[in-house]
């Protein structure tokens, strides 16, 4: 499901302020007949994306210096993989904060043409794009990117982004844990996501 990653990592753009409203937003992601659900929760310097059907929760945290930490949590397996800032730099995974918290960055929004209030159109990553934007929660109501659509189902206020209590494995340690069945599955999946140079 690389297209999900592509959509969430339209991120090579400057970070926005972190003072967006703390909310839980549920989205339906559709590509043809295939439908998945994404739950975004953001508050302060934390944001999580839960891919409901896939049982994966991705948590991002930003510190005062702008350094990112990242966890990929697999609750059904009781484990998560933690990426320290150095790990993220090493694998060139350094998304912009506004893209994480708003799903599309301010700069990408600015690259689109505003056809009417809160509706923007243009081209993103070489594909025709249409974004309906909700200023009140700083989130897209609906994104159409090529064959993919992403639609906001609900949004509600929250007080915090919850941490998980799963057994956390350092990304840097994965290479020494290839005997571990979870690590083997994780690496096999991760291999297909890794960007090439």
């Amino acid at each position: 499901m690389r297209w999900l990653v592509v959509l969430l990592v339209l991120c090579a753009l400057p970070a926005a302020a972190s003072d967006v409203a703390a909310v839980r937003a549920r989205y339906a992601l559709k590509r043809g007949n295939h439908v998945e659900h994404l739950e975004l929760v953001r508050a302060g310097d934390r944001v999580s994306h839960e891919f409901v059907e896939r049982g994966v929760r991705e948590l991002w945290q930003r510190d005062a210096r702008g350094d990112l930490e990242h966890w990929r949590a697999y609750p059904a397996q009781g484990k998560s993989v933690h990426y320290a800032p150095g790990d993220l730099r090493t694998i060139n995974l350094w998304p912009r904060w506004d893209a994480l918290t708003q799903l599309i960055s301010a700069q990408e929004l600015a690259s689109l043409t505003r056809n009417k209030k809160n509706v923007l159109e243009g081209t993103l990553r070489g594909q025709p794009a249409r974004v309906e934007w909700r200023d009140d929660v700083a989130l897209p109501r609906r994104i159409t990117l090529g064959q993919l659509t992403m639609e906001l189902l609900s949004v509600e206020p929250v007080s915090a982004v919850q941490s998980d209590t799963l057994e956390s494995i350092e990304f840097a340690d994965l290479g020494d844990k290839e005997y571990d069945p979870f690590v083997r599955r994780f690496l096999a999946h991760h291999q297909h996501e890794h960007p090439l140079h």
């Binding site: 005062a64 320290a84 060139n92 840097a172 690496l187 096999a188």
Partner: protein, 520 residues
């Protein structure tokens, strides 16, 4: 370099050395070249060191570059030289000036290509064992705590404590990670770093996790200096981390092992940032525990970005030696691990691996300068290698992180990048497997406009793996100081232990380095 033939009377060489010279005959024709001068100097140095028969040391310092195979040393040497605006190939890392060297076979009892657990066990106990277990013998079943009792292997650090020496451990990885862990812990599972990772059966039996084994260490008067990462493995899940205040400790048993450390050792300290580290000295640094990150320390390439500041491995080594040397007439044993070379290689990121390898060489240089080779033995080795290669036919001085620029038929540097059979440029450095591999029929990426010298660049690889793997070839063991003359030939990895134990007299009567016996 232009080479001429010149005459050289080797008697002159012998006279200058005041020792028997290597004899090629009364008169010999040697090439008139700077290479000849360098070669004769190297020979002279080797002759001098061959006369050094000292076997007993007061102190032993063991450096382990995790995953620092020979290709890593070569590439790090070139990178280090190029950072000094030299071509690089002729450069020497600090320990490459050591007089003695052996090749070391790294296989474990059950692995052709090993992990860090059995290899460090071999280095620190003199006994090879199986994958994933620390300082216990091959009779132990992985993850089965009931098989440990009676199968523990005594480590050199424990022997040092038994003999009244001061001891220290330094690592840029978590101090509970396999390499540092093997110096003090005995466990059937290298991953049992805190109680959270223990099996249910081990937890029920109160089998101590690795962090607990460090704090509850019982030999001698306890370990004197511990510098590394892994703070969260020592703090309870209910306690806020001092540096990353949004995070907590990891332990589920509610124990704050950092507090237990300072309670156990009167006058001891727990430090976690650069400012606290800077205030330590030999007088106030008794039984000091320094944990500078929740997990591993930063890569050297990223260290300047750390929130609370983080000492370099050279600074950690220097401070450890200063503390261990102060008011100490019995000597010390110190283990220093460059733990992140391995991690960067696993990520397929040569630049970070090499920066950390250079940083380790800087730490060795600091130790070399702080100690006297007449009384301090220094070993530098690796636990295992990686599938990291240096290839193509780059011209002399070509950027080691760059794309290959080669020579033309006349030996002059060609314009433009050398091209592979797919008509695309390629880098000098590559991996036999790892995340930089192509897959699913994707063509090899064209590197023409890619800056491969950028620190985040991941080198191309052959076999696709999300995590690059260890390599199985021999690693190097460099040595200087008493007993280092026994570091020679192709050896089992256990040789390090026996050289260190012999140097410290643990295999017989311990004698101070100035003993007449040292000269016999």
């Amino acid at each position: 370099m232009k080479t001429k033939i010149r005459k050289l009377g080797l008697a002159v060489l012998g006279t200058a050395l005041a020792i028997p010279a290597v004899s090629f005959g009364a008169e010999q024709l040697l090439n008139d070249s700077e290479w000849t001068d360098d070669g004769l100097k190297a020979l002279r140095s080797a002759q001098l060191h061959r006369l050094d028969k000292r076997e007993r040391a007061n102190n032993v310092i063991l450096f382990v570059g995790d995953g620092m195979g020979i290709s890593t040393i070569t590439a790090a040497r070139i990178l280090d030289g190029q950072k000094k605006n030299q071509p690089g190939e002729e450069n020497k890392l600090s320990y490459e000036n050591f007089p003695n060297l052996a090749l070391v076979k790294t296989y474990s009892v059950n692995q052709q290509t090993p992990d860090s657990a059995p290899t460090m066990t071999a280095i620190i106990t003199g006994v090879k064992t199986k994958d994933g277990i620390l300082s216990v013998d091959e009779n132990v079943v992985r993850k089965d705590h009931t098989t440990v009792k009676g199968n523990e292997l005594t480590t050199l650090l424990e022997l040092a404590e038994d003999h009244g020496l001061k001891t220290g451990i330094v690592s840029t990885a978590r101090i509970t990670h396999a390499t540092p862990g093997a110096t003090y812990a005995h466990t059937p599972e290298r991953d049992w770093e805190s109680d959270k990772e223990l099996s249910a059966a081990a937890k029920a039996a109160d089998f101590p996790d690795i962090a607990r084994q460090l704090i509850e260490f019982k030999r001698g008067d306890g370990i004197d200096v511990v510098f590394g990462g892994g703070r969260e493995y020592f703090l309870p899940a209910t306690k806020q981390d001092p540096e990353d205040t949004s995070a907590t400790g990891r332990r589920t048993d509610g124990r704050d092992l950092t507090a237990e450390w300072t309670t156990k050792y009167p006058g001891s300290q727990f430090v976690w940032n650069q400012a606290q580290f800077d205030k330590l000295d030999g007088d106030n640094g008794q039984h000091v525990l320094g944990l500078f990150e929740r997990s591993h320390l930063e890569y050297e390439a990223d260290r300047a970005k750390d929130t609370a500041g983080e000492p370099s491995i050279a600074q950690l080594t220097t401070k450890a030696i200063e503390i261990l040397s102060r008011n100490n007439d019995k000597g010390f044993f110190l283990m220093v691990e460059g733990g992140r070379i391995d991690h960067a290689h696993h990520a397929g990121n040569a630049a970070r691996a090499l920066e950390d390898a250079v940083a380790l060489a800087d730490a060795v240089k600091a130790a070399d300068q702080l100690t006297d080779e007449r009384d301090t033995t220094i070993l530098v080795t690796a636990d295992h290698s990686h599938v990291f290669t240096i290839g193509g036919y780059p011209a002399r001085g070509n950027d080691i992180l760059g794309k290959v620029i080669t020579l033309d038929a006349t030996g002059e540097i060609e314009d433009g990048f050398a091209l592979a059979d797919d008509k695309k440029p390629y880098t000098t450095l590559a991996y036999a497997n790892g995340p930089g591999a192509i897959k699913d029929g994707t063509p090899r990426p064209d590197l023409t406009n890619v800056d491969t010298t950028e620190v985040d660049y991941l080198q191309q690889a052959l076999v696709p793996f999300a995590s690059e793997t260890h390599g199985g070839e021999d690693v190097a063991l460099f040595a200087r100081g008493p007993s280092s003359q026994f570091v020679a030939g192709a050896q089992e990895q256990t040789i390090s232990f026996y050289v260190m134990a012999h140097a410290l007299g643990f295999d017989g009567q311990r004698r101070p380095f100035w003993s007449l016996a040292n000269w016999l």
